[in-house]
């Protein structure tokens, strides 16, 4: 227990970097569990579902989950700070419509797409302003802007669709590298993936993101720009959502006001499944990617096995609930083992 001061001084203290060996830190994590599950489901599906093992399935799977993969990147960061952005799918819709309307109006597609990206950034800035400057809860703000941005999208284009886009771009959205099954857009995603992994896990900015999620006060007292960080993240979420919107438009060759309706829930489900806490402070990018892929692989395999989409929804929903319950159950178990009946607050005061 308590060593006396003099005794402590006499013993030259050495500190280990970690209290668990490397393999435990790498393997015994929630992220690894999800990755293992992705591998397991893929192997089982490849063996049992006719057609799942075909290379073309991989291509379509990646193209299908691409918008979710893209938006999950900034959503992870937003949620680690303890906030949430429910308006992402509406921004996808709005940027899709803007791209379509501007292209139809005679602007070159490239210019229209850039305008759509800027609009996405502005949408994110609106969210960020309301959350960080006005001080409203992000849940309420983004439920509001979910309706607002979707309303703008539908208002701009009505119920019609614009389908006239340059072939070069629509082909590129579906193109594969050489003769392989790897879609070209995957490289765009991989670049963004590296950027976000570095941003979250290897920069002081990323350290600030975690600190904000775990203790806003301690972060502020340590010189972290709490509000500025959150603002930047909302703008990022808006911009990447707009990028996903442009991709969505090209892939289906159709700009519609109701494009990607409900996508925000799929994104958030994947992020939570991947190990990000809705209370903030916890999660890692690799887990989130695995979460997105798990949902993608599962629904793709089930669809090929002629399971109806209702049942697919039920299964992914149940999986999500299960993963959240499992996490809290494991945390509870760990706590029970350490200090039966003790609450963390009191527990901390005894450790000596």
């Amino acid at each position: 227990m308590t060593a006396t001061t003099t005794a402590a001084a006499a013993i030259a203290r050495s500190y280990r970097d970690y209290d668990r060996p490397l393999w435990q830190r790498v393997l015994l994590t929630r992220e690894m569990a999800i990755i293992a599950l992705v591998v397991l489901v893929s192997v089982v599906a490849a063996a049992t579902v006719r057609g799942f093992g075909q290379p073309i399935t991989v291509t379509y799977l990646l193209l299908d989950v691409m918008p979710i993969l893209l938006i999950a990147l900034p959503m992870t960061l937003v949620m680690i700070t303890g906030e949430i952005d429910l308006s992402v799918a509406s921004i996808v819709g709005l940027s899709s419509v803007l791209t379509g309307v501007l292209t139809a109006g005679g602007l070159p597609f490239e210019v229209a797409a850039v305008v759509a990206l800027v609009a996405g950034a502005v949408c994110g800035a609106v969210n960020g302003f309301l959350v960080t400057v006005v001080g409203l809860p992000s849940l309420a703000v983004t439920i509001g802007t979910l309706a607002l941005f979707r309303g703008l999208a539908v208002g701009l284009l009505g119920t019609t669709a614009i389908t006239d886009f340059p072939d070069f771009w629509t082909d590129l959205a579906k193109a594969r590298v050489g003769g392989s099954n790897v879609p070209v857009v995957l490289f765009v995603f991989l670049v963004l993936l590296v950027v976000f992994i570095v941003l979250l896990h290897f920069t002081p900015f990323g350290r600030g993101i975690y600190a904000i999620g775990l203790s806003k006060a301690a972060a502020r007292f340590s010189g972290v720009h709490v509000e500025r960080t959150k603002f930047v993240l909302f703008v990022l979420a808006g911009t990447i959502s707009a990028l996903a919107g442009v991709f969505y438009t090209l892939r289906f060759g159709s700009a519609r006001g109701d494009n990607a309706t409900g996508l925000e829930l799929q994104v958030i489900a994947a992020v939570v499944l991947g190990g990000v806490s809705v209370f903030g402070g916890r999660g890692a990018i690799h887990g989130v990617i695995a979460g997105v892929l798990l949902i993608g692989v599962l629904s793709s395999a089930l669809r090929l096995a002629n399971v109806t989409s209702d049942v697919i929804n039920i299964i992914t929903g149940a999986l999500l609930v299960l993963s959240v319950v499992a996490t809290s159950f494991l945390a509870w178990l760990r706590k029970r083992r350490k200090a039966p009946g003790g609450t963390p607050r009191i527990e901390a005061s005894t450790a000596g």
Binding site: M1, R20, P204, R207, A211, A217, A218, G223, T350
Partner: protein
């Protein structure tokens, strides 16, 4: 209530003819391989205030948690009024008439004082309605008995910690608790508040209740308690009537050695002014001006609520202020910018270590390097390796007791948590350190380590502004004492002239102290 609180504290414990109200004998408790309590013993008599002292980690809290029903003991006897008991939950302990009042009470901030007192057992009128009148009347009666002047209808939000504790005590009394355990109740209290708490404690004792008082402050133990039990390293050491022991004797029992100097402040050469604050005003404080020079420890004394922490936070830029300037080394620090203050060479070890000082759920390494994350990054990138290197240096310099740098900060003891916070701020290599309650709630060994460290830092030319509610600490450490009262600096007293009396006087009276 008793209008004549007994000021002498040499009342002997009640004769042990009847069984004691609460008795623990050789109680043990382990968590896995960690032995938290080896052999704890305690006898609480009716109508007596009993002190329980010991360093952090001595097993006091574990003992209390067994009594409170939070933990189950592994071995030993636990008797209440001579009958063996075994609590499986806090509810059972409460039902048996035991109430524990923690250092930081947990009231419902949006409910009124009255509602808080009756939380979970509101008197019910006709049709299952909550009988607000009855509740209100009982609270008024209770407060009158305890001599408390808190408005029963105000929300709990914004009440001082002292008032919150009083509400917890009122709750306990209304439940007719026979045994009251107060875990470091005075840690966050100012002098006047402590006096009020003691008055209440004495009147409860005179009603025949048994009180257990856990404290790190000897003056309070001697002023209030009848008997004192010392614990060390998870075991019972001794129980002594207060009249038969001395501070030195208790300290020896606690640490198993002599502590020669509790407050070592070495003389240091005081040089150029570093931190210059001029005319700082906000709704919480008015016209605050002072200077901290290199090599100097300036003590900022005053009652809790006098605005000391608020000034510190404004100077560091965590809170905004309306008027005035803050300069460091002659250069102005912009307001409301903690990052700019840090870059200018200012550091703040905040008052609330668990909320403001640490990210409790984060590792020691991440905590130590949070404030220097930008300076240790290379080309804008930071890795765990860089963090661990920096953290290792500061953890070993401050002798933080932990095995691994990945240990979650919240699981460390209070003293070690404070060392982590200190390390975090010293790592920024500040020119001026503002430290708010440097030793609140930490054990005596760590306390003198912290004092030695502060003295050493001043010796090396750092300017230190030390906010403290412990007078001996202020008097022992500070070269100069500033006293605040109701948002204003009411006195500035040099080390040689500072006494408990004149500091206390300036903290409580507006007149008589020079401006």
């Amino acid at each position: 209530m008793s209008d004549t609180p007994r000021m002498t504290a040499d009342t002997p414990p009640a004769p042990a003819a009847t069984p004691p109200m609460l008795e623990l004998e050789n109680v043990a408790k382990s968590f896995g391989a960690v032995v938290a309590l080896r052999s704890g013993s305690l006898r609480l008599e009716r109508g007596s205030i009993h002190a329980l002292i010991g360093e952090n980690g001595a097993g006091k809290s574990t003992l209390v948690k067994i009594v409170a029903g939070l933990y189950r003991r592994d071995a030993g006897d636990f008797r209440l009024n001579g009958e063996s008991v075994d609590f499986g939950s806090t509810a059972q302990s409460k039902a048996a008439g035991i109430a524990v009042i923690y250092q930081e009470p947990t009231l419902f901030p949006d409910l009124t004082v009255t509602e808080n007192v009756f939380m979970g057992r509101q008197p019910v009128g006709r049709f299952g309605r909550i009988d607000r009148k009855a509740m209100r009347a009982e609270v008024e009666q209770l407060f009158a008995r305890l001599g408390v002047g808190i408005d029963p209808d105000r929300p709990a939000e914004g009440l001082s910690i002292a008032d919150q504790q009083v509400i917890e005590i009122a709750k306990a009394v209304s439940l007719d608790a026979r045994v009251l355990i107060m875990d470091e109740p005075t840690a966050a209290l100012s002098g006047v508040e402590v006096d009020r708490l003691f008055q209440i404690a004495r009147s409860l004792r005179d009603e025949g209740r048994a009180l257990l008082f856990i404290s790190h402050r000897f003056d309070e133990v001697f002023a209030l308690c009848d008997t004192v039990t010392v614990m060390r390293d998870g075991a019972y050491i001794a129980t002594t009537p207060i009249g038969e022991t001395t501070v030195d004797g208790l300290v020896r029992q606690m640490v198993g050695r002599d502590v020669t100097d509790l407050f070592p402040k070495l003389p240091a050469e005081i040089r150029e002014p570093l931190l210059e604050v001029e005319g700082l005003s906000s709704p919480l404080f008015h016209d605050i001006s002072f200077t901290v020079r290199a090599g100097e420890i300036v003590g900022l004394a005053g009652l809790v609520g006098a605005g000391r922490s608020e000034v510190a936070r404004a100077v560091f830029g965590v809170d905004a202020y309306d008027e005035g300037t803050v300069r460091l080394g002659g250069r102005a620090i912009p307001k409301n910018r903690p990052d700019a203050a840090m870059r200018a060479g200012l550091a703040l070890v905040p008052e609330d270590r668990r909320k403001q000082g640490l990210v409790l759920e984060s590792s020691v390494a991440r905590n130590v390097t949070l404030a220097i994350r930008e300076t240790i990054a290379k080309a804008g990138l930071i890795t765990s390796g860089m963090e661990n290197r920096a953290a290792k240096e500061w953890a070993s310099r401050l002798e933080v007791k932990t095995n691994a740098l990945s240990t979650v900060a919240g699981t460390l003891s209070g003293g070690n948590q404070q060392k982590v916070v200190l390390g975090k701020w010293l790592a920024t290599e500040p020119r001026v350190l503002i430290i708010d309650e440097p030793t609140r709630g930490i054990d005596i060994g760590t306390k003198s380590e912290v004092h030695r460290l502060l003295s050493e830092l001043a010796g090396r030319g750092m300017g230190i502004l030390m906010i403290s509610s412990e007078l001996p600490e202020v008097l022992g450490m500070a070269d100069r004492v500033l006293v605040m009262r109701e948002g204003r600096i009411t006195a500035e007293i040099d080390r040689d002239d500072a006494t408990s009396e004149n500091v206390m006087f300036a903290a409580t009276h507006a007149q008589g102290a020079h401006q």
